[in-house]
């Protein structure tokens, strides 16, 4: 059986080609300002010398990704001229001819080949203990669909416009390499990824600790505690050299030109607000709402005075700075401390009681989720950083499958406000239904012996998303509320989803700690 799954990969290419065709159909859909962002970067990297890349500011969408991504844009711009030369003019702001759209959309679709390859490698790691004659019931098939047809990636990359598929290709490939025991390659790929987009710094602790603990130390004591003498210096040095090499290639030229501080200031703009324009469904969304609720309560009970409350405190999302009235305001430093505090236990577990690659993956997901929960100016898109790696776990155990369904459904739902145009409304609902129905039914069937994946409360919570969507997109625009509280749907969506994300965060943490205390926890089911 195992041989036959490996030999016949035609089903995999069918899935991959099928989703690529779907992506092609999405070419004429709505695109966000990110489209212009990337067009601008094409123009900058094509026209200016490297020394000007991080200084150019004709467009408001300045280059704010690390240098390797700039080189990637440079590479793309070499082909762009054959489609439409005008898109490479820096001053051609908001230029979007048909050829430009075609080129940029196709560049995303083509660069997704790396993602497809990475998914294939991940699927190969899925040894498939559960054997089934029916291909559709095999974990490896389900995993391939969950990753390749991921709703979030489809709408963020191929409608909203970004290159996440390409970047996640690096992440998943490096995870697959770690699973295959090719740690050095994993480290190399991850350092490249860090230099493509620095948001992946959030999961770096998982990599650092895992590689140090399980790769640089070659032996464990019987009780799984560390054996200091087994430290393998060559491996450590190899890792260090690999990582430094990649960073040197990427940042070296800018250090040599004395532009490091300029580059870093572009990469880490702390002037933005606590919450992104659309609130990400994280801890701060709940915090803000609590503050607002307390304010209203205070006003009602006459504990607060009207004049003292600034008018701008609750305009929803447009105001970048958010002033809390009752709860203490949050500064970037606080969010950083919260994030580190949330990551520490997971990393500590990874160090103290290594569980092999599975433990590493779990820690990586926790790091991603923790930073999503507590980070500064988090985009809702960042939830994909947790959802995609969690897909790998979801086909391995019953608990993780249930977790995956909750997290992916709420996380994906929170992406809905990204697409606010009418033609895309049916599209996002249909795509979301397609992905959710598939993941629920196939995972439920995979673990049918272990009982239901979701308990009644969880199922009710997830079903509640349907009336929420109906209210936000259909009923709300028809009511007079629209003029008074234009941001109400965004607020409701992010708060409702924040509950689910928080719940899965806590549950995932619990499962990691349980797992560490009792390694056979999963098999007892």
């Amino acid at each position: 059986m195992a041989a036959s799954t490996l030999v016949s990969w035609t089903w995999f290419s069918t899935l991959a080609i099928g989703v690529s065709l779907l992506k092609c159909l999405l070419i004429p859909t709505y695109r966000s300002t990110d489209f212009e962002v990337h067009r601008n970067w094409l123009a900058i990297t094509q026209n200016l010398p490297v020394s000007q890349w991080y200084y150019e500011a004709t467009s408001e969408w300045t280059l704010d990704y690390p240098p390797l991504f700039a080189w990637f844009e440079f590479f793309l711009s070499q082909f762009a001229k054959y489609f439409d030369k005008n898109m490479l003019e820096i001053k051609n702001l908001n230029y979007a001819s048909e050829a430009t759209v075609l080129f940029q959309r196709c560049s995303v679709i083509v660069s997704d080949i790396l993602f497809i390859y990475a998914v294939r490698e991940c699927c190969k790691c899925e040894n498939g203990k559960k054997r089934s004659w029916d291909l559709l019931d095999r974990p490896v098939f389900i995993l391939a669909v969950l990753l390749l047809w991921n709703f979030g990636l489809l709408i963020v990359d191929h409608i909203h416009f970004q290159y996440n598929g390409f970047l996640f290709g690096f992440l998943l490939l490096s995870v697959a390499r770690v699973f295959q025991g090719r740690n050095m390659e994993g480290a190399l790929l991850f350092s490249i990824l860090l230099n493509l987009k620095h948001i992946y710094l959030y999961v770096a602790p998982a990599y650092g600790i895992y590689l140090l603990r399980s790769y640089c130390f070659t032996q464990h004591s019987p009780d799984n505690s560390i054996k200091w003498r087994s430290f393998h210096f060559l491996r450590f040095a190899g890792l260090g050299i690999t990582v430094c090499f990649v960073f040197a290639i990427s940042f070296g030229p800018f250090i040599a030109m004395g532009q490091l501080s300029q580059v870093l200031s572009r990469l880490f703009p702390f002037k933005r607000g606590l919450c992104h324009a659309y609130w990400a469904p994280n801890f701060w969304a709940l915090y803000n709402v609590l503050d607002k609720a307390l304010t209203i309560l205070g006003l009602k009970l006459n504990l607060l005075q009207h004049e003292k409350i600034s008018k701008a405190s609750m305009t929803g999302g447009l105001v970048q700075e958010f002033h809390h009235t009752i709860l203490p305001s949050v500064s970037p430093a606080v969010t950083l401390i919260c994030t580190i505090a949330a990551i520490t236990p997971a990393v500590f577990c990874l160090w103290k009681k290594p569980q092999g690659p599975i433990g590493f993956l779990r820690c990586l997901i926790l790091c991603a989720l923790a930073s999503f929960m507590f980070g500064w100016h988090v985009h809702e898109k960042a939830i994909l950083l947790a959802i995609l790696p969690l897909s790998l776990l979801s086909v391995k155990s019953h608990t993780d499958a249930g977790l995956f369904i909750i997290l992916s459904t709420t996380g994906h739902f929170s992406l809905f406000p990204l697409l606010f145009t009418a033609p895309e409304l049916p599209l996002k609902i249909l795509l979301m239904l397609l992905f959710t129905i598939f993941s629920v039914t196939s995972l439920q069937r995979l673990f049918r012996k272990d009982g239901k994946l979701l308990n009644t409360l969880e199922a009710t919570y997830l079903t509640g998303l349907i009336p929420l969507e109906v209210f936000c997109e259909i009923i709300f625009p028809l009511t007079p509320l629209k003029a008074a509280f234009p941001f109400l749907p965004l607020l409701l969506t992010s708060v409702y989803c924040a509950l689910g994300v928080t719940y899965s965060f806590i549950k995932l943490y619990v499962s990691m700690i349980n797992y560490t205390e009792d390694g056979k926890h999963e098999k007892r089911h």
């Binding site: 099928g18 065709l21 859909t29 559709l136 033609p423 599209l427 239904l433 069937r445």
Partner: protein, 506 residues
């Protein structure tokens, strides 16, 4: 996975494809003064909404019949009226008399697209699923793959959701008719087919098999006993459903005659544009349109059509089986498409629908035929700016047929349902290896379609032959259609009469 999730997933997938195709351009977008089928449909909403019913089909100052006058049967008009009510509710400008001519906006496009999707979702898609789950043998996975491949047939998607028409309604009713008849619910089947016919007169392509099958069935039951009763029941239900559809026009003979005149415009010529049928293809050599009198043209095409449909129909009358009925639907619609008067390139959809139903039986030939039928509409699709959806949906259909239906492995003589010919082939043409021959012909055909598509889309034709590519496409498709017509006729005529009885026994 469970059956229902298969249904949900394939249904969702086909809806997604339909909606993404509908985001592209439509026929006559931004092309005054006449625009295209999109404007025709909008105009019908305007006319039916603003004028009393007895003025719909008559020329008047408010209803210029030369500007997309209503030329479809009453059900289309009622459907337009229904859509017009919704349109009026959303934005009265969309259906304002006269002032709305050529109205185009993003919101309006969205509305029009939504009406097609709704019609598709209500009529056509459920019919496909019902048919698949009752009459496709095998596991639910197999049924779902069949349903998915029918729903992803690019021709219908591109014409309805790209070019803009409501073929899904008429074809959907026809499919419901076929479904009921296959269930042996003859009366419901004939009623459904009457609705199809009263939505679009082009459904006449399918009428002969319906008639012959039901007649054959009555004959078999004996015209003196049960058969007569069945015949009377069917006749009454057909007359009743026609009367229901035509009710407002029946009170006045002038009305009925005018509607009929609008439905069958004899003066519009033998064929339109470049269509892959016999007359258009012959006109490359002989200019039939100018040589013959219009009256002769009508007679000639009528005779040719009847002659082509005759064998299949005769066989059906004497052996009214369900599989024969399906094959006869294919043959008769091909006969009409290839030989009848005033054929549009879109009419190939009428042949494509029954071909879809043959996917479980002869998957190889059926998918091939469906690919060619999509290709035959390429000039039209290019005019509408639907190149990208055309390429993507065709590739998707090819992908589905190769992987889900495994068509490339089903090319033996038995798979092609030519078993009676096997002996003959072995004897007279032993050197022919049917399997590899079929496969290589298929490859050759697909590659040439790809090459012709690329050439039509990218190259400028030489100035002395401006229609080079459309003519090449239609000739190429014509040869295929002729071959498919002969093939499907052969399958029908060679079919052993006892096949279904044997199945029932076993």
């Amino acid at each position: 996975m469970d059956t229902w999730s298969f249904v949900a997933l394939s249904g969702l997938l086909s809806l997604i494809v339909r909606w993404t195709v509908s985001l592209s351009s439509y026929s006559g977008a931004g092309k005054p003064p006449m625009f295209g089928d999109y404007e025709a449909q909008r105009h019908w909403q305007e006319v039916t909404f603003n004028l009393p019913i007895h003025k719909w089909y008559f020329n008047s100052t408010d209803n210029n019949l030369l500007y997309w006058g209503l030329d479809y049967p009453p059900l289309t008009a009622y459907h337009s009226l229904l859509c017009a009510y919704v349109a009026h509710l959303v934005n009265p400008d969309w259906v304002a008399l006269k002032s709305s001519h050529g109205y185009e906006s993003q919101a309006h496009k969205l509305f029009m697209r939504a009406t097609v999707l709704a019609a598709d979702l209500i009529v056509y898609i459920p019919a496909v699923f019902m048919y698949a789950f009752y009459f496709c043998e095998g596991s639910s996975k197999k049924k779902a793959s069949f349903a998915l491949s029918v729903l992803l047939f690019p021709g219908l998607i591109l014409i309805d959701h790209g070019h803009f028409q409501y073929n899904c309604v008429s074809l959907g009713f026809a499919l419901w008719g076929i479904f009921f008849i296959a269930l042996q619910w003859d009366i419901l089947g004939s009623v459904a087919f009457c609705f199809a016919l009263n939505y679009k007169q082009m459904e006449l392509y399918h009428s002969l098999p319906f008639f012959c099958y039901l007649l054959g069935k009555c004959l078999r039951k004996g015209l003196k006993g049960k058969g007569l009763i069945l015949l009377i029941k069917i006749a009454v239900s057909v007359i009743m459903s026609f009367a229901l559809c035509w009710l407002p026009f029946l009170l006045d003979t002038q009305q009925s005659l005018q509607v009929l005149r609008r439905l069958f415009p004899v003066d519009r010529g033998l064929f339109e544009d470049k269509v892959a049928n016999t007359w258009c293809s012959l006109s490359v050599l002989i200019k039939m349109k100018t040589l013959l009198l219009p009256q002769t043209q009508v007679q000639l095409s009528f005779a040719a059509t009847l002659l082509a449909a005759l064998p299949s129909c005769t066989k059906l009358i004497f052996q009214p089986t369900i599989s024969g009925f399906r094959l006869s639907l294919v043959n008769c619609s091909f006969a009409f498409f290839l030989f009848s008067f005033q054929v549009h390139e879109k009419s190939i959809l009428l042949a494509a629908l029954p071909v879809c139903l043959l996917i479980p039986e002869v998957p190889f030939m059926a998918t091939w035929c469906l690919l060619v039928s999509t290709f035959s509409m390429l000039p039209l699709l290019l005019k509408d700016g639907l190149l990208l959806p055309y390429i993507v949906t065709s590739l998707a259909f090819l992908l589905v047929s190769i992987t889900l239906l495994a068509v490339s492995g089903l090319t033996s003589v038995d798979d092609l349902k030519l078993t009676p010919l096997a002996h003959f082939i072995r004897k007279c043409a032993a050197w022919v290896k049917v399997e590899s021959l079929a496969k290589s012909l298929f490859m050759l055909s697909v590659v040439s379609m790809a090459v012709l598509s690329v050439m039509s889309a990218t190259l400028n034709p030489p100035s002395n032959l401006p229609d080079l590519f459309p003519v090449a496409v239609s000739l190429f498709s014509y040869l295929h259609f002729l071959a498919f017509f002969i093939y499907f006729s052969a399958v029908h005529l060679l079919e052993s009469p006892n096949k279904e009885d044997q199945k029932k026994v076993s």
